[in-house]
Each structure stands twice: as C-alpha cells, then as structure tokens.
C-alpha cells in the first residue's frame, strides 16, 4: 500500500469536565483545553507503525474544522505524519458532510487506507467511518483492536458485543479504531520543531465540491439529570441490609 490518510478531529480534551452553557446554546469552550480526539491519536499511531514497518509509504493527516484545528494537525505532524490538510469549516459539521469531504480527499489523493476513530468524543456519533466507506463503495472495519497488513488485504480484529470478530477486507478500505489497538507515542520537543517545516495545506470545503449542508439542527442543549448523592454505609452487613430492604437482593 502506498498512502494512508488519518482523520484527526479537534475536540475538547477528554480530561475536561464538559459543561452546558447556562443559556443552553452549547457547551463551555472558553479557556478549555482542546486536543486530538483520543481515538484519532490511536489511528495515527497505527498508520505510523504501518509505515515504519515498510508497509506504507506516506501518512497524510487530515482534519475538517476551524482554523485552530491546525494546532492538532501540527501535533499529528510532530507525531510523524508526513503532511497535513485542513478542510476549513466553522461550526458543527454533520458526519455525512465530513464523510463527503474525506471521500473527496481520499479520491484526490488516491488513498489506499483511511484510518479514523470509532467515534469522536464530542458528538459521540460513530458515523463518519462507515459513511465514508459506503460513499466510497469500499469495505469498512469498525472498532479495530488489531490490524494486520497482508499485501492488498487487511485482517482486522474488531471489538464487538460478543467479544472479538475477525474480518478480512480488500484495500482500499476504511478502518475505525478502538482504544486497545495501540498506545500512541509521546511527542518529543525536536519533533515539534521539525513539524513546523512539514507541509500543511488549507482548503475550503467548497473547493472539494461539498456543500456544508446542515442536515440536523440542534435546537436545545441541556445538562443531564444529576443523580442524587446517596448514603454511606459503614460495613458489608449494613449494605446487605439496605439492599435487602429495597428488595434488590
């Protein structure tokens, strides 16, 4: 295989306790740390390992989002991606639109394998990978926890409700990754310096021939119902007593 494309989304860092704005128009983002979606970091790590094994020649990191998403792409370049492309688009983008944008890039770049996250931890949609694969009319393997390259075929182990499922897919194809696929490397300072010189192109969504259609409109944001803090019991006997009284055991 020659080229791998990795989709890298800019999201609120997974350590941040996300809060809904009091006016219900979104979540608080002011002064909040932004990062690469954790699944996408794993996707990128996998692409880099494939390349380092000599099974791919180039790794291209792509993102769809605001100008600031260049920061996440720079991090991707520092991790080891060869170059990056930002498709500029502000605001929330429907996964169907994201999939169309990535399809355009995959075709333009003659990509052999698209690696992306099984879900973005902001919208928790888990849609983009399968949508891209469908529009491309190519195979998909979602929630990958192991990936083996055998020439033009991938053998992918997937985390499913029943346990582990193994599928074989022909390239080109789309693989969405799960958390146990690998542990991403840390970025070192010299790599950050080197990344500044790597190419990062910025293009418009429209230039890819994709319309920023708003398929789904969010009309309200609400905080979830809070669970009431319960009681502390002093020992196992008191716990069993309480559960028995409520008829739970």
């Amino acid at each position: 295989m020659r080229k791998i494309m990795v989709c890298v989304k800019r999201v609120i860092d997974y350590n941040v306790r996300v809060r809904v704005k009091p006016d219900g128009t979104g979540v608080v983002t002011d002064g909040v740390k932004m990062s690469i979606n954790p699944f996408d970091e794993i996707a990128l790590e996998e692409a880099l390992r494939i390349k380092e094994r000599g099974e791919a020649a180039e790794v291209v990191a792509v993102s769809l989002g605001p100008d600031d998403a260049q920061q996440q792409l720079r991090t991707a370049l520092a991790m080891g991606a060869d170059r990056a492309i930002l498709v500029k688009q502000d605001g929330i983008v429907d996964p169907l639109v994201a999939a169309q944008a990535f399809l355009a890039l995959a075709q333009k770049e003659s990509i052999d394998l698209v690696l992306l996250g099984k879900q973005a931890i902001d919208d928790d949609a888990a849609q983009t990978g399968p949508m891209l694969a469908a529009l491309w009319d190519r195979p998909q393997a979602t929630a990958a926890s192991k990936l083996e390259v055998r020439g033009d075929t991938l053998v992918v182990t997937r985390e499913v409700d029943a346990g582990l499922e193994v599928n074989e897919i022909d390239l080109p194809g789309v693989v969405s990754v799960d958390l146990r696929l690998n542990e991403p490397r840390y970025v070192k300072l010299p790599d950050i310096m080197k990344a500044k010189k790597k190419p990062l192109d910025v293009v418009d969504l429209a230039s890819l021939g994709v319309a920023a259609e708003e398929h789904v409109r969010i009309v309200q944001w609400q905080p979830p119902a809070q669970r009431q803090k319960g009681v502390m019991v002093k020992d196992a006997a008191e716990l069993v007593g309480a559960l028995k009284q409520k008829g739970l055991v």
């Binding site: 319960g230 409520k246 739970l248």
Partner: protein
C-alpha cells in the same frame, strides 16, 4: 402514516433483546407503522419471534447465505433497497447497529442520529453527546428521511402481541460486495446473564489487580445471579475480556442494581451506568468520584469486603 423500518439484530437463530427495545422507541413516533426487517441465512425462527413483538405491523424476511454473518458492507445495500419509502430507519446502538446503520444512512443520503434516547416528535429527538455530559434536542426538516440508532438502555422491551404480525419474504436484488469477508467471532461466553439486559451487574476495576483476583467479581456475581462488567482499566490490563467493558466506549447499561468494585468513577465509565436504578460503590478512597453518583457507598478494602458480602448473601 409514518413508516418505521427496524433492522433486527440476531445471533444463533435468536432475536437479540435490542430489537423489542427499538420497537418501543419506534412506537413513540406518532402514527407509526412498524416493519421489522430480518436479514439472515435462514430467518424463519427469528422472523417468527419478531412477528410476536407488540406494535409490529409486519416482518420482512430476507434469506441469503451471504447474510450468515452480519457484515455491514453486505447488509447495508439490502437495507437501503428495502428502506425506500420509510420515513425512519432504526437499528440498535449495539456494535451491530453502530457498524451497520451509518453505512445504510450514507447509501440513503440520509442523516443519522446516534443513541436516540427519546422521541419528542416525528422529526425531533433527544440524544446524549460529550459522554452524556450534555443532552441535545435535534430537529430534522419535516419529511426528511432519517436513520437512527436507538440507545437500548433508554427503552424497555415491547411486550408480546396477542396475534403475530404477517411475515413476508423479500429479495431486495441489491448487488452484494465481496470485498469484505467474515473470518471468525469469539465463542459466546458461557451461560452467565447478558450484560446488556441483566437486572443486576457486578463490575470490577483496576483495583482487582489480576485476572485471577478478578474471579472474586465472578463469584459475587454468581451469588447474585448478576452479569459481570469491568472498567476499561480492568479490560486493558487483561483482567476481563473486552466485551465486559462498561462505559462510553463499552456497553451502556441500565440494570436495577449496579455494584462497582474498585472503580474510581471516571466520567467515561459513569456515562455507561447513569441509568441504573441503584448504584453501589465499594472503594477504599473516600474521595473517589464514584461515590458522588452512588446510592450506597462503602469505603474499604475490597479484598476484605467481597468475602464478607459473599457470606452475607
């Protein structure tokens, strides 16, 4: 009339309990006519089960050897072909539905809503985002076809119908790809209750320290007739298999009783159990965040508490 097509999930010739839950969600759509679609190699028994779910108007059965294993790339074109004319296409938010439904949506050029937890109107739904830290109400243009995955933890299973709905056979005539092949799936894990539908769940975390000691969780679960769950840390460390992971990226569950043992209560874990009726937390750290959401908290060393619990139950 709103036509809702529900893609049935099944394994080993049995309908998965997620399907009657999708039916309950679909019944929330006003004036809904509900069709269940069974794609299998031999779907006779499964279709028969689906026909007896209360609220189902008819069942469509597509038998094809290619449907022996649920490969999204193979199933999606068949679903899309049969979904023409449906206003809503539903599937469960299990790994089956998460894999398949977005592929269907893209073929239909329809938007998808993931993890629908409530139907507010024919074109208005509620769903969680940010690991359940926010709930959004979303609206689609009236008349726009939509694909949804149904958050199974948010719905009770629909009951049994007095008389079964008619079952029709169909041949969608879609061209099925050969670029995706099934190789294997791990064998079902014994006869313990299923994590996603169990009334009681006992989960263990990193604190268990080894696969061997994780056996204590199984013992307590067996005593309670409960299913076993695990935190991501416990799965990552190899104490428990991946299919037991509870949370944002594992299974989202709503049992009557959830007992978290040696689990800190990270937001990604808590998001998977928030709908449990009663949560019990056992942790040696009184400051552990799990206590903020627990109905009953017990501070102490699990290695002495679990044997005590076992002997008291």
């Amino acid at each position: 009339m709103n036509k809702v097509l529900i893609v049935a999930e099944h394994a080993g010739g049995r309908l998965n309990p997620s399907t009657p839950k999708c039916v309950t969600c679909a019944r929330g759509i006003p004036d809904a006519e509900i069709t269940v679609l069974v794609l299998a190699d031999d779907g006779a028994a499964i279709a028969g089960e689906a026909a007896r779910i209360q609220g189902v108007a008819r069942v469509i059965r597509v038998d094809d050897p290619a449907n022996a294993h649920p490969l999204a790339a193979v199933l999606a074109p068949q679903v899309a072909a049969l979904a023409a004319g449906s206003s809503h296409v539903f599937g469960p938010s299990t790994t089956f539905g998460r894999d398949l439904m977005p592929r269907v949506a893209a073929l239909l050029k329809a938007p998808q809503l993931s993890e629908v937890m409530q139907v507010e109107a024919v074109n208005r739904f509620r769903r969680p985002v940010y690991a359940g830290n926010a709930l959004v109400t979303v609206e689609l243009p009236v008349g726009r076809q939509v694909v949804c995955t149904v958050r199974v933890a948010s719905f009770e299973a629909a009951g049994t119908a007095a008389s079964p709905a008619p079952v029709e056979s169909a041949a969608p005539g879609a061209v099925l790809p050969r670029h995706t092949r099934f190789v294997s799936v791990s064998a079902p894990s014994g006869d313990r209750p299923d994590l996603q539908t169990a009334a009681r769940v006992v989960s263990g975390g990193r604190a268990l320290g080894s696969a061997e000691k994780f056996g204590m969780i199984y013992r307590l679960a067996d005593k309670l007739g409960a299913a076993v769950g695990a935190s991501r840390a416990a799965v990552d460390a190899g104490y428990a298999p991946n299919e037991l992971q509870v949370g944002q990226t594992g299974k989202i569950i709503a049992p009557g009783l959830y007992i978290a043992v040696g689990i800190s209560g990270a937001i990604q874990h808590v998001t998977g159990i928030k709908d449990a009726q009663t949560i019990v937390a056992i942790n040696k750290d009184p400051e552990a965040p799990i206590f903020e959401i627990a109905d009953y908290g017990l501070v102490g060393d699990l290695f002495s508490i679990l044997p005590e619990l076992e002997s008291l139950l």
